[in-house]
Symmetry: C2
């Protein structure tokens, strides 16, 4: 394996395991079993190494899900795939890498850029499936697919950090989100006419609530 790749790999692992505050040119180089100076030769700065590492992780991960996301035809499908995606990406440390660069974004433009890139890639990919699936659901016309995909991505990041300080609580949070997803998906199983009726009621009530709030201001 080339030195460059060894560094990228080591940086990704270090980021996931020790967090952004725990990585340095020395520690990453030690992990990669290469000389410390090579970090600067190949990447210029430590932050740029981290950025490159996260971009690579994200590109790889997104590619492995592209086909499966393309096969999704219903919200229930999407939720099943989502659960799987969440579990594997967490286990691989990819979610942790994203959370860590985002946390470090305040002090480093390179990390901010990596975080933006990662969130963008994932939410664009998820959005493409949401766009196909949403029209048949209760949420059609109420939420926009892009925002929903972004919310899911943000939720994963929050859950990742929560898991790091309180795994039990994070599991409880995930369970609730799962239940809500299942409820929304459940409406797909009803006759289309019933779905339309419920959806239209919901939309009217939302409009009423919005109008009432407008009056209050």
């Amino acid at each position: 394996m080339a030195t460059r790749d060894k560094l990228l790999e080591a940086a990704a692992v270090a980021l996931a395991e020790d967090g952004v505050a725990g990585v340095s040119a020395r520690t990453v180089a030690a992990r990669a079993e290469v000389n410390q100076a090579l970090v600067f030769y190949h990447f210029g700065t430590v932050d740029e190494l981290l950025e490159a590492a996260v971009r690579r992780s994200v590109d790889r991960a997104v590619a492995t899900y592209r086909d499966r996301l393309a096969d999704v035809t219903s919200l229930a499908d999407l939720l099943t795939l989502g659960r799987d995606l969440h579990r594997t990406e967490r286990e691989r440390g990819n979610v942790a890498q994203m959370a860590q660069v985002m946390a470090g974004a305040r002090r480093s433009p390179a990390l901010a850029s990596a975080g933006r890139y990662a969130m963008d890639r994932w939410s664009a990919e998820v959005e493409s499936a949401v766009v196909r699936v949403l029209p048949g659901t209760l949420l059609a016309g109420l939420v926009d697919p892009r925002g929903l995909a972004q919310a899911v991505a943000a939720g994963f990041i929050g859950l990742e950090l929560y898991d790091g300080v309180d795994p039990g609580a994070a599991a409880g949070a995930l369970g609730s989100l799962d239940a809500i997803g299942a409820m929304v998906a459940a409406f797909d199983a009803l006759p289309p006419m019933a779905v339309r009726a419920v959806r239209s009621r919901a939309r009217k009530a939302v409009a009423r609530a919005a109008a009432a709030q407008g009056d209050a201001r």
Copy 2:
């Protein structure tokens, strides 16, 4: 103002503005305009100072919302309050502080403890309102209040970090969550019988889906 307080205050601001990677005994002491050695005299280590600072921020913030959360009687109320809470706590930097200690949890037990404490305080407080409000809604019997409160807290953390790398996207994500909340709340406006009918349909469909998934395994 006593030195101890100046340090706590400076640490909270530094954490929110520069992130956990950007704080040091020296930078915090400079911000507080006190001597660097006093960090160690008063708090032992930098991490313990950060922990104390976050605990104080959380205790204060939770106290300012206690009464208002106690007044909540409907999901619509709770969502309105939630929006306000989210905005002000973000502006005060309290959400950023929480996100940063959680990101630093991997390398420091003190920060992990601070993160756990913060999430616990907030979700317990929110849970007390959710418990009262949930029975009247579509989600009654489907999601447990504690898990839902924890999910909301985790969501805030994720959105905070997202906002740091892509404010527009974070706003889009928040908008979608808002719409979903509004939809669920909208059912409160329907006649109780209709709510019960929809809820029971949803619950049966969820049970069916769960059974189907059980069969598939």
